[in-house]
Subunit: 95 residues, 5 copies
Amino acid sequence: MILGKVVGSVVSNTRSLNIDGAPFLLIEKTNQKGEKMGEFIVAVDIIGAGYDEMVMISESTSARETLITTNKPLDALIVGIIDRISEDDKFVYIK
Amino acid sequence: MILGKVVGSVVSNTRSLNIDGAPFLLIEKTNQKGEKMGEFIVAVDIIGAGYDEMVMISESTSARETLITTNKPLDALIVGIIDRISEDDKFVYIK
Amino acid sequence: MILGKVVGSVVSNTRSLNIDGAPFLLIEKTNQKGEKMGEFIVAVDIIGAGYDEMVMISESTSARETLITTNKPLDALIVGIIDRISEDDKFVYIK
Amino acid sequence: MILGKVVGSVVSNTRSLNIDGAPFLLIEKTNQKGEKMGEFIVAVDIIGAGYDEMVMISESTSARETLITTNKPLDALIVGIIDRISEDDKFVYIK
Amino acid sequence: MILGKVVGSVVSNTRSLNIDGAPFLLIEKTNQKGEKMGEFIVAVDIIGAGYDEMVMISESTSARETLITTNKPLDALIVGIIDRISEDDKFVYIK
């Protein structure tokens, strides 16, 4: 999974991808410390991630492996909100 | 999903990928503001995206997860036309 | 789908990937104008693409979604020979 | 499969990806000698990899092909702890 | 498929990926002429590729599409040993 932060949202009214109540969030990729790296993707959120929260994202077909997203043409899903990341026995990110 | 703009179309008469009424569009990838980045892919369009519209695209096998595209050898599908993108509580793209 | 030109062929007699009558072609990736970019992949051809023709290629599992290629361990398939590409209402490639 | 070293762990309490007893590990990608390269991903561990061990990781949907991970939205799985790597008949990495 | 040469092997005794008699080989990616490019991946070999042989490799889920590798969490499989590659009607690689 890759790491990123929720920086915004994407509104699309004409679409072939409909998931009730699951917004499209604008994600900026981050390193393991939560520092933003200037690269953006759009991911579907089914767990209620909020603005500026660090999340991990599953890409490709793995994004479809939940009851809500099965058989949907999405390729990026927020699978977890990050609470803490440790590196070399030190916390490098705390929510 | 990645972001891009419709910049043209691709005509291919000899092909193993046939989807009735679904054109192949030339897409230039953009950042979250809709600024073009010089990278191009070909995507299948089943929602009627028009010239210069910003779209989001599902890649890889996710592109096959619609009634129209199931079991087709495509790896890039336009899944939504973008109306607005907000970043840090400001609109950075409005259609 | 990505764009490329047929620049050669690949002969492999010891292999676990056998598709009757479908050659392995050497493809050089191109931009939307058909200009070569120095990157090469090997793709399976089931539509009879010829030397120097511009083609579009499906990657990953999408390459298996034809009657001929189903359940084969290939990850790149020529899905169409390009006739014309337009960008900003001008033809940038004509076969 | 790609190579990396276990450098830390990731705690996520709100998530749509639950695998009993399988932690999320922070992996830094390495070259074939085990030298770190500054790129990080999060992978699921079902074999008990420890801190600073070199591992190989399957990405994309391949990560779901075990009894424990089937139908889970993960895209990176530790599939083996590396004991030795030889290159040109010399060992370039020994655990 | 991508091109590479067999440069070594990888030993992993603790793993979740077991394929009887199929070694993990260290592959250095090459260009179409067989010139090494300094990038390495680990691939499973079921056809008996030897040291310094040029091979083509299927990545992602395509790697699972053989009787031996089905339902295994691997994402890179050697699918053929290269005998010859021609580019612009000249042989650029001969085994």
